[in-house]
């Protein structure tokens, strides 16, 4: 097992490297000079000297392979370079926002799991009844309702009935846990709904598949009672694919955060991505894209490890 973990961990390095190369090239595909584009995007006129100075500051006047090596050396030391917009270190820009987004993502995952697994199981066990239909409606709607609209509706509701608006500043968890939760629970619900819809769907179909298995029939004919069959025999085995979905969707939560953080006025990674793109801050975009991809690759790694741990049949040399 430990050997598998190590090999699987080392396998992430070439993938990450390939991702870095692709992102690096992607930013260089931008038609025209990124410094010029960035500086004149506000409609202002800038002299050639200013552009040259900015290029030199960002190291963009060096040959392309040199720029790549610089970036790589920086990455190894966890230095993502500087933002073209604010001039701050990208690592710092990310660090001050990571806590909020991570907390939001974890809360959303908890909400999604707590909703999805019981709902999906219930729907599978009561297949074809109104309960099943209601759960299916819940998940079909979850995939269709945009999370930013759900957020807007929540704000609308709280504003009308409780005169509450999302606070302008973020309260960290350790400062005031109650205020922190009150601030994050609604955006977490807005993002988590879609997430739980996906997971509930997966739980239902995995459960349906497992319930058809021979060993479940054996369990019934042995006269085992219902909870033992459902919880110990069926759900345990059905949870394998559900783990995958929950793990990978966790990495993809950033896609929901970009819109939800905007609605709830939260200064997290999602908002940073939107800002970076609106400001055409290419160095920051480069760093953030790498962060997103690294998150996905890491989630994949964790899912694989959890899988190997949950299912003793899986043994990779």
């Amino acid at each position: 097992m430990s050997r598998y973990v190590v090999t699987r961990f080392l396998l992430m390095i070439p993938t990450l490297l390939a991702v870095a190369v692709l992102i690096f090239l992607l930013v260089r595909v931008v038609p025209g000079d990124i410094v010029e584009l960035r500086l004149v995007s506000g409609g202002t006129y800038v002299t050639k000297d200013v552009i040259q100075a900015e290029r030199a500051r960002l190291g963009l006047n060096k040959p392309i392979w040199n720029q790549f090596v610089d970036w790589m050396v920086g990455l190894v030391r966890l230095d993502f370079g500087v933002s073209m917009w604010s001039g701050d270190k990208i690592t710092h820009e990310i660090a001050i926002r990571l806590q909020l987004s991570l907390e939001l993502a974890i809360l959303a995952t908890i909400i999604a799991t707590v909703l999805a697994i019981p709902l999906g199981t219930l729907a599978a066990v009561r297949r074809g009844t109104w309960i099943d239909q209601a759960v299916q409606l819940f998940s079909v709607a979850g995939l269709a309702v945009p999370s930013f609209w759900l957020g807007i509706l929540m704000i609308l509701f709280f504003l009308t009935y409780f005169d509450w608006l999302p606070p302008l500043t973020f309260t960290p968890l350790w400062q005031n846990p109650a205020a922190n939760l009150a601030q994050l629970i609604w955006p977490a619900l807005a993002v988590g709904y879609r997430y739980s819809a996906v997971a509930a769907r997966m739980t239902r179909s995995a459960m349906l598949e497992v319930l058809r298995e021979d060993y479940i029939r054996t369990a019934w004919s042995k006269g085992l009672n219902r909870p033992v069959i459902l919880w110990r025999h069926a759900l345990r085995n059905a949870l394998l694919p559900v783990t995958t979905v929950i793990g990978l969707e966790f990495a993809f939560l950033i896609g929901g955060l970009v819109v939800t953080e905007q609605v709830f006025n939260l200064n997290g990674i999602g908002k940073l991505i939107v800002d970076a793109i609106s400001h055409r801050d290419y160095t920051l975009i480069q760093g953030l894209m790498l962060l997103v991809a690294a998150g996905y690759i890491l989630a994949n790694f964790i899912v694989d490890i959890v899988y190997a741990w949950l299912d003793p049949r899986i043994s990779y040399g």
Binding site: T15, A18, V19, L22, L26, V27, V29, V30, P31, V140, A141, L143, A144, V145, P146, F148, W149, I152, L153, I155, L156, L159, T160, R204, S205, L208, E209, F252, I254, G255, V258, V259, Q262, V263, I273, V274, A276, I277, S278, R280, Y282, I285, M289, V292, A293, Y296, I297, N300
Partner: protein
């Protein structure tokens, strides 16, 4: 003299059969009522979008500062916004924007992805390996992040948005179609085609491509829903179509929250439109998947 008799026998033979086996579309509708409802909604949206200029009671972009924040009522069914523009008219024209971007990006993305997928499966070896590693990387970004990155390169606007969404779909389409194409490559008829000396491109386009039609269609329908959601999200973030073009996501950005207390209808109706549109394509996609690919039925 013989001809009319022949026609009679034909119709006599066909009619009872037709009574036993109803039209395939009718059968689909009976079996998948949700899918039929989705189709109905999509057709309705298409018609409303196409004829928006005839159906819409007002000009969607003309500001009327004498008619700001009018409540939904007989004059303005869905009320008016901060510029006095009729919300219903903007929704109808917004359907046009959503559907144009949705269809264009989904068809382009799914088709290019499908072609690359079939090519990857057919040639195998190094071609497949290189393409799959590339797809692996592109798939590690959520679609919206990939689309946003492409918008950062190309800039905003309707055409760029279509390109951004289409490009983000390609790796996902490639994955789905490659899986089906791998199975087709192993079939006897592909082997037979190769045996009679058919060229690579003939086998790819005449023998393999038509047979991935079912997964392609299912995928396309799923993409349509996603594309509408993506367009709305990007426009909401200010990275999609820009004012004054009527677009559902754009109607929800900024103003809708700022005037939430005064004019909640500005926030409610566009979101409802997005949800219904995406729902319609999703339920149709699910029904198509169940009907066309019985292996995936759950």
């Amino acid at each position: 003299m013989a001809r009319p008799v022949a026609v009679d026998t034909v119709s006599a033979a066909v009619l009872p059969l037709a009574a036993v086996r109803p039209h395939p579309l009718r059968r689909f509708a009976r079996r998948y009522p949700l899918g039929a409802a989705g189709t109905f909604l999509i057709v309705a949206m298409l018609l409303l979008g196409i004829f928006a200029n005839r159906v819409a009671p007002y000009d969607p972009v003309a500001a009327d500062f004498g008619a700001m924040f009018i409540r939904p009522g007989p004059g303005h069914w869905f009320g008016t916004d901060a510029f006095g523009r009729d919300v219903l008219s903007r929704l109808l024209f917004g359907a046009r924007t959503a559907l144009v971007i949705g269809f264009a990006s989904s068809i382009i993305g799914a088709t290019i992805g499908a072609v690359v997928g079939v090519i990857s499966a057919y040639f195998g070896g190094t071609t497949d390996l290189v393409l799959q590693r590339l797809v692996d990387i592109l798939i590690s970004f959520p679609i919206i992040i990939l689309a946003m990155a492409i918008v950062a390169i190309l800039g905003t606007g309707t055409i760029n948005l279509i390109v951004a969404i289409a490009l983000s779909f390609i790796p996902r389409a490639e994955r789905v179609v490659r899986a089906s194409a791998l199975a087709i490559r192993a079939t006897v008829y592909v082997e037979a085609a190769r045996a009679i000396g058919a060229g690579h491109w003939r086998i790819i386009f005449r023998h393999m491509a038509p047979n991935v039609g079912a997964p392609y269609l299912v995928m396309l329908t799923a993409f349509l829903g996603q594309a509408i959601l993506l367009e709305a999200s990007l426009s909401f973030l200010g990275l999609g179509v820009s004012e004054p073009t009527p677009a559902w996501g754009l109607m929800l950005s900024g103003a809708a929250v700022n005037f939430a207390r005064q004019a909640p209808w500005m926030a409610i109706f566009p979101g409802l439109a997005i949800s219904i549109a995406v729902l319609a394509f999703n339920v149709l996609g699910d029904a198509l998947r169940d009907a066309l690919d019985p292996r995936l039925r759950t």
